[in-house]
């Protein structure tokens, strides 16, 4: 008797909360029929879902290959960050979506299936599950998923959103090599790539930055990051060209000035490095601590570099972009 009352109260409370879910989207039906299907075994929805998106992105893998990388026997499941780590080990960049239904639809539009975390239970009694969204049917308001042992599981939009909302709208996409997520924005793509750089091969990172730059050619932070990545790839001239472009566009980008000065110094051009860094000195008090520290150290290194080489050699003009002397 007591339990049923509790259950009824619970239901009343939860139904009340569910009525504020976002309305079904009003967009053209789309289904990515080419997305492969890997039925899960027992508790391995993580490996199955991840295999689905990785294979779709062009990686040869399988649930058996991924299970030792993501499955935790003691939790009978897989953690979200380990799915990200395994995607990186496969040489792809996994992009976590912004927590909003619009992002999901933008990805489907761009041809990317979305790996989602769902809570099929309650917030207080969660049943966590990974599935891959491959389509949305507007007429019947159905989301289509590769889920568990169902190749084409159809869930009503409201029910899907309820389960996805309880997982805080967590989802990821793995675009093909060199491609960016369909829902990417200039402000969010930078942090997404940068925070994973340490766990990715440098060539994968460079390709991602170049793609971001091609899409947002005048975004200062993306110019900065791509210049850094080109330098890491030992392409000094291409890096210098981007630093110059950045500083023309955003003369106040002091992190960019610092890194450009460092490049010039390393290339044996302390005079050009000093000129590049000069505007930063007046701005020092207003800068973030880490930028201030870097500039101070770079300035000291330039000073000792100038003592050794008072005049820059001729090749420095190519890097610094200064016109040749008459």
């Amino acid at each position: 008797m007591g339990r049923s009352i509790i259950a009824l109260v619970l239901v009343a409370l939860i139904t009340a909360c569910a009525s504020t879910a976002p309305p079904p989207p009003n967009q053209a039906p789309s289904e990515l029929v080419g997305v492969p299907f890997f039925p899960q075994t027992e508790y391995q929805c993580g490996p199955a879902a991840l295999t689905t998106v990785l294979v779709h992105s062009g990686v040869a893998t399988s649930p058996d290959a991924l299970t030792p990388q993501v499955y935790l026997p003691g939790r009978q499941g897989s953690l979200q960050v380990e799915l990200l780590a395994a995607a990186r080990r496969a040489g792809r960049i996994p992009f976590t979506l912004e927590a909003a239904p619009e992002a999901l639809l933008a990805e489907l539009e761009a041809g990317n299936p979305v790996l989602v975390l769902q809570n099929l239970g309650l917030r207080s009694l969660p049943r966590w599950h990974y599935a891959v969204v491959v389509g949305y049917e507007r007429a019947r308001e159905r989301v289509i998923l590769r889920s568990g042992t169902e190749r084409r599981r159809q869930e009503r939009w409201t029910r899907f959103i309820a389960s996805w909302a309880k997982a805080d709208y967590w989802g990821l996409v793995v675009p093909g090599a060199g491609k960016l997520p369909g829902s990417a924005r200039a402000a969010t793509i930078g942090p997404e790539i940068a925070r994973q750089e340490g766990q990715l091969p440098p060539e994968v990172t460079l390709t991602a930055w170049e793609s971001a730059l091609a899409r947002w050619p005048e975004e200062p932070d993306i110019l900065f990051a791509t210049a850094n990545a080109r330098r890491t790839a030992a392409d000094q001239e291409a890096a210098a060209a981007l630093y110059r472009r950045l500083l023309l566009l955003a003369p106040g980008h002091m992190a960019g000035r610092n890194n450009f000065a460092d490049l010039l110094l390393e290339a044996g051009c302390p005079g050009a490095a000093a000129a590049a860094l000069a505007p930063a000195h007046l701005a020092l008090p207003g800068l973030a601590a880490n930028v201030r520290d870097a500039i101070t150290r770079t300035a000291a290194a330039i000073a000792s570099g100038k003592t050794e080489n008072p005049t820059d050699p001729a090749h420095c003009r190519t890097l610094s972009g200064d016109p040749p002397s008459p």
Binding site: Y43, Q118, F160, A194, Q196, D293
Partner: protein, 124 residues
């Protein structure tokens, strides 16, 4: 006599090397540093990354992961991810399956399922 001279010479050389390396060091601002989000909690900021790596590796072993696999899995995580796991590995969501409901929980979920609140069963 010779030994102490060699020792003094070594000290001088070490001092010279150390001081030249110090002044030659410029500072590059890397991408991860530039785009870093501010720390959400003080606790997260204070867990040393190396310590977090050890903690997570131990937890994975305790959870039945093959020892050879733990090294690779821990190595594939960023410092921020390791710090998050070190704090909450046993409580973070672990996606497992759409099924596996037992006992008293079953009745509660059946009621909720019929009322359209949960989505555990496939055919309802």
């Amino acid at each position: 006599m010779l030994k102490s001279r060699i020792f003094i010479l070594l000290q001088i050389v070490t001092f010279l090397v150390a001081s030249t390396v110090g002044t030659a060091q410029a500072a590059v601002i890397g991408n991860a540093e530039h785009f870093a989000q501010p720390h959400r909690s003080e606790a997260l900021a204070h867990i040393d990354a190396a310590f977090a790596r050890d903690v997570v590796q131990q937890q994975m072993l305790a959870m039945g992961v093959d020892p050879a696999d733990t090294m690779e899995r821990v190595g594939a995580l960023s410092d921020a991810e390791l710090q998050q796991l070190a704090q909450s590995l046993d409580s973070l969501p672990a996606g497992s399956s759409a099924l596996g409901v037992l006992g008293a929980l079953f009745l509660v979920l059946l009621v909720l399922e019929i009322l359209g609140v949960t989505n555990v069963f496939t055919k309802i």
